[in-house]
Symmetry: C2
Subunit: 426 residues, 2 copies
């Protein structure tokens, strides 16, 4: 018998009927002798409704008061789920973040968890009760309500699992796991049975919306076994399997079990919201990178990739990427900088995308980069920028080649779904 932490998102809690479905699922686990802690989000749409109310009152809502208000969303769903469980004969008790207590710092709307008091939860579990905890929220040392930022319920789930030393933290979502890439772009995308924390972190940073980045960091740091699975599935062959080790979905863990048999690449991430800017013919002297990039950072524009080349004439070229929504502002700033430092030319492009291969396997395998480049070359796709890390290679290409590039790389690196595998949910 295991101690399982289950986290259900806003879609799973979106209506009374869905809450009853979640209760029925929790009941099955409980009936099989597992101890279950459930972490829930607010009903889908509720957080946005509250934010709209605040903005109807003031353009600059105070962060402490925002948190005081936003925390009510989960306070409603924990109570509803407790009622639902009680109505089907399962003892259950709800806790707000403050009641647990989930102690955080005082950074309202982006608080970080400092510690979790878990004695009361353990007492309830010993008394055979299901414990329901409000995700996304905590309490600071002044007794003020705090929230963890968007997607913070994932982090609550992982943190509770770490505090209780749970056997597994299960994140229920509206997809049935983590995919090799977005199935809407590459129809042959396949669900991963396993992925490492590092890979999941790169996938999340690169745009995969399945898990909040901080929750993955947290799970990695505290070695919390993490599983992403669908709240709409009932398990293999439609029969619900309450042997927790037998669950489907994607299991996120420290190391692959059979590294040799795993593909080198776990997944392909991409980001459409990219734009690149280039400043050419800059005097190649110490401090020049800072003179170019500091004004961009000062304007609160986040820079992603940076590439620098030195030309034969002793000048240098800089190219960097920003979020596409910041493109015009960045270009205007860079044109001013270019004049100040006597650059030859400033230009940019906002019809580019970034495509990344992610996989811990590439650490030990040479030739991933060259295979990537040759695969793209075979499709006549020009690479405009390259950036690498230990477990990732990213390239910038023209936007209209995105689908072609992802599909070609997906096939080349052996990620395509095998015949007989279940198809991707619509």
């Amino acid at each position: 018998m295991a101690l399982i932490v289950q986290k259900y998102g806003g879609t799973s809690m979106g209506t009374p009927e869905r809450i009853l479905n979640v209760a029925a699922r929790v009941k099955r686990w409980h009936e099989h002798g597992h101890r279950v802690v459930v972490v829930v989000s607010a009903m889908s749409g509720e957080t946005n409704r509250l934010i709209a109310l605040a903005h109807a009152v003031t353009d600059t809502p105070n962060a402490r008061e925002m948190d005081q208000m936003l925390a009510t969303g989960e306070q409603v769903t924990i109570a509803l789920l407790a009622m639902a469980l009680q109505s089907i004969g399962i003892g259950a008790k709800s806790y707000t973040g403050g009641q647990v207590a989930i102690k955080t710092d005082s950074s309202h709307m982006k608080a970080r968890i400092l510690g979790i008091e878990h004695a009361a939860i353990e007492q309830d579990l010993s008394a055979n009760r299901v414990v329901i905890v409000a995700g996304f929220q905590g309490i600071d040392d002044k007794g003020d309500v705090t929230t963890l930022g968007r997607g913070g319920s994932d982090t609550t789930g992982v943190a509770i699992a770490a505090a209780l030393k749970a056997d597994e933290c299960q994140i229920y979502t509206d997809v049935d796991g983590v995919y090799t890439t977005d199935p809407r772009v590459a129809p042959k995308a396949s669900k991963l049975d396993r992925i490492t924390f590092e890979e999941m972190l790169e996938m999340a940073s690169l745009g995969s919306k399945v898990l909040q980045i901080r929750s993955v960091e947290f799970a990695g740091k505290y070695q919390v076994p993490l599983r992403v699975l669908s709240s709409f599935d009932t398990g293999k062959d439609g029969a619900f399997d309450t042997a927790w080790q037998q669950q489907t979905g994607t299991f996120i863990t420290t190391e692959r079990e059979h590294d040799m048999e795993q593909p080198i690449i776990s997944g392909i991430a991409f980001n459409r919201d990219e734009a690149k800017l280039t400043i050419r013919g800059v005097p190649d002297q110490p401090g020049i990178a800072s003179r170019i990039l500091s004004p961009i950072g000062d304007a609160n524009i986040e820079i992603d990739m940076i590439v620098q080349n030195v030309a034969a004439d002793g000048t240098t070229d800089f190219t960097f990427t920003v979020n596409r929504s910041e493109y015009k502002k960045s270009l205007a700033l860079l044109q001013n900088i270019g004049q100040d430092i006597g650059a030859k030319d400033v230009n940019g492009k906002d019809d580019i995308v970034k495509v990344s291969l992610v996989g811990v396997g590439m650490r030990s395998h040479a030739g991933v980069a060259s295979k990537m480049f040759s695969t793209l070359a075979a499709q006549n796709i020009n690479i405009q920028m390259i950036s690498t890390s230990e477990i990732k290679i990213s390239v910038v290409i023209a936007e209209n080649y995105l689908e072609l590039a992802v599909r070609a790389l997906h096939t080349a690196f052996g990620l395509d779904r095998k015949t007989g595998e279940t198809s991707v949910p619509a």
Copy 2:
């Protein structure tokens, strides 16, 4: 400069615009140097919305979880009002019932306040901040959220005022005070400038919806000066008067200031939701009242007035009133009882109403009853039952005479609005 507790109901907090109006009013008080604590209800409709959600999940929602959920309504409005005040330059801080802490017993959904920790509030007031407290809710010794029952925000306001020894507790509503009777029934109803706690208590028990009964009891017990006034008024002649002693509305106090000049009767209350039941020809022997009335009480039916007459033949008749919604159930019960004890006859009427005169003046004035009866007789209204207390006389009459009776009594006891007085709001 005074310490004022202001309570705003759900209608006053119903939209972002109205919340901004409340903020503007609070600001005027604050700017005139008064220290202000504001107690607020949930947005109108919100509590019903939450109850409907719970009932969509289960027919028998757990009371602890109901309170956990219901308390969110005020948690949203305290935050919104704090934001609104901050946006117009007033320092403000919101507190849930638990954060204050407003300590209650553990009777969920009808908890009673045991004590209020007010050190933090006083610190905020000293720092020139407006303090906003969630009405209707508290916390028990286990840290569980409790609620005080419908209308409990009035009680929160009075309890906070008592704890802080406030100069006045102002209850803002959608009417401009307490009226001699319901203006919809008697168009000449006039607003009372003053009323005693005892009278207000009788008026509230008899159906006046202006103040929650418990809040009046509480205010009387702790001698909290209480004022009912409109949140839509800006004061006399449209000019807002922040001299708190000069406010309009109705002031509720321990004693009338100029008792001699006051009318004997303060108001006329009535209740349409009445039905009466009669059992005749019952053997007049000890314990018979209990044998008749106990089964009614055991069925959780509340009995209001009771009248007993002894007939010449040694038998006795009982007549009592119940809420009209319980009439059929009560009649069936009484018919069974009648058979058991060999009563001659059991019958009832559900087209009756109760009309009551309320006034501390009748303590020292004989003749109120006879004036009431003769006034009704002059209108050919038959009195079916009579019940009296120190400051109240109630009669039961046929429903179709209600308006006529109230208007005739209103005129006879000198309550009609004088020419030149402001007219009743629509």
